[in-house]
Amino acid sequence: MTVIDAQNVCKRYRRPHVKAHTVKEAMLAFLRGDRGYDEFWALNDVSFKVEAGESIGLIGPNGSGKSTMLGIVARVLKPTSGAVSVKGRICPLLELGTGFHPDLSGRENVFLNASLLGLSHKETIACYDSIVDFAEIADFMDAPVKTYSTGMVIRLGFSVAVHVDPDILLIDEVLGVGDEHFQHKSLDRLLDFKKQGKTLFVVSHSLSSILDVCDRAIWLDRGRIVKDEAAEEVVTKYKLAVWAWEQSLAEAKARNAPAL
């Protein structure tokens, strides 16, 4: 069963020019016919299908459109053209306790965040103990979140998200958060998800965590798909390409350097 179906997805962004600081500059810019922005395509005709139970990694250099793609799948961004259809309960794994209010207690934030991610009040009550247990911060649940350490906020946020029991889990650069122990724990949890036949959709620069979690990888570059194959192959080819690019950079630098 196809759970994510992206067809010819394009996303155009406007890249604003440096803003005019004075009235004079603004008028000159207007006279030059400067619209104040350039257009560029963050995604250009991207199509792929994800089957239920697959785990997909998106890799590519900065600005290649990975997070934009994730945003469109999460329904936060709208494609300029093309369509994405998603089947099942989808849940973004929010980094650093996004949406947590510093003045509310851990408990209150758990209920707010869980409802935002699609858990009903009853369900949250049912798995509340398990959430606290997983985050290992039971003593702090009634203290305001602003008194938490960064690590505690991350743990709690992660814990809520993995308890939402989504069909599709979206992960944007949040693998490898927290201390060593919590990293192992969260990785185990994600692998559990996979065993249960859930779909993972991961964006990461950490190629090793892509290899740990994903079976398949999509390599994006400047908004286009370069490769869409098994994770090992794509990661190897990507590493090679980056290496080759760095070599050519170094050579160019050597050529341009004045001979002593």
Partner: protein, 325 residues
């Protein structure tokens, strides 16, 4: 996991380039109602967090404000209406509700930006939660007002119910403005500064500190035919604007409902009882009845139109929120 799943349970959604959805948005808000209640609860809890008196501030704050006006106008300037205190309190309620809702919702999307960029939920929930939190504050204020009424020995009567349509009028109008301002302030940070100042001006254009008849000035006898009266252009156009402002209408509506036994809801509340000599000196006739009904309808039309425009504007901009900042 057993139990009911509130949202997004096994349902197919498509995210397409051009999809407009006034009705879907309403259904989505219904689906996400638990989020709405949680946000309302959070707004209420957070506003007075870290203050010793906590929730009591939502009542003490306006009362102290009213105390200041009472001191300035009644005691320093020896001015103001008879029964100035109840006059101020009642008039201030709908204004406070309106201005707080508008100010809160202007910031509601920008405040939640980190969340808006990561998670999907119907964006209308944000201004709606600001509106509902302030409705609850208004409800609490009413508890205090009725307590004061009991102390002053005012008897409760059926005309109090006129407060309900007046409140609905303000709520619709405020929600419309909220949609426009919330969406706009995502793209231009200037909006929140402008709104802050305009609200300050609007306060003085709303008959909270003075009765409406003072603006409308010389009054005319009750006409037999409203249509004829309107066409005869008895009020200068500029002054008619006061009567088309939903907030002014609501303020007068609150006063007539709670202070004048509902008699004047469709007319501006009467000024003080004057002798003929005083009236002549002030160039004010003894009758202070304005036929308000056409204006009430006009204000309602304006409020509803604002709500529709605001909602459409908000919907159209909502898809771009996550691209900002």
């Amino acid at each position: 996991m057993e139990g009911r799943r509130a949202t997004a349970e096994g349902r197919l959604y498509a995210c397409e380039a051009d999809e407009s959805r006034p009705m879907t948005e309403f259904l989505e808000v219904l689906r996400y109602r638990e989020v709405l209640w949680n946000l309302v609860r959070r707004n209420l809890k957070v506003r007075y967090k870290n203050s010793v008196l906590g929730f009591a501030w939502s009542l003490l704050n306006p009362l102290m404000q009213i105390g200041v006006w009472y001191f300035v106008f009644k005691i320093l300037f020896q001015h103001g209406e008879p029964n100035f205190m109840p006059f101020l309190i009642i008039g201030f309620l709908p204004w406070l509700f309106f201005s707080q809702t508008v100010l809160d919702s202007t910031a509601c999307v920008t405040q939640e930006m980190p969340l808006v960029k990561k998670a999907y939920f119907p964006r209308s929930i944000l201004p709606l939660s600001a509106l509902i939190s302030n409705l609850i504050h208004l409800g609490l204020a009413f508890v205090v007002v009725f307590a004061l009424f009991a102390i002053w020995g005012v008897s409760v009567n059926i005309h109090y119910l006129w407060v309900i349509p007046a409140t609905i009028l303000v709520a619709i109008f405020a929600y419309g403005l909220s949609g426009i301002l919330a969406a706009w302030s995502v793209f231009y940070a200037d909006v929140k500064f402008i709104v802050g100042n305009l609200i300050g001006l609007w306060f003085f254009l709303t008959p909270v500190l003075y009765p409406l008849w003072q603006v409308l000035g010389k009054t005319i006898d009750q006409p037999s035919n409203w249509l004829e009266w309107l066409l005869k252009d008895n009020l200068p156009r500029l002054k008619q604007l006061f009567l088309l402002d939903p907030i002014s209408i609501a303020v007068e509506g609150y006063r007539s409902a709670l202070l004048h036994g509902g008699e004047n809801f469709i007319r501006v509340s009467a000024g003080p009882k004057l002798t003929e000599a005083q009236a002549a000196a002030l160039q004010v006739s003894l009758r202070h009845d304005y036929p308000l009904l056409p204006y009430v309808i006009g204000a309602a039309v304006i409020a509803i139109a604002t709500a529709i425009i605001g909602q459409i504007f908000f919907q159209r901009k909502a898809d771009l929120f996550a691209e900002q900042g």
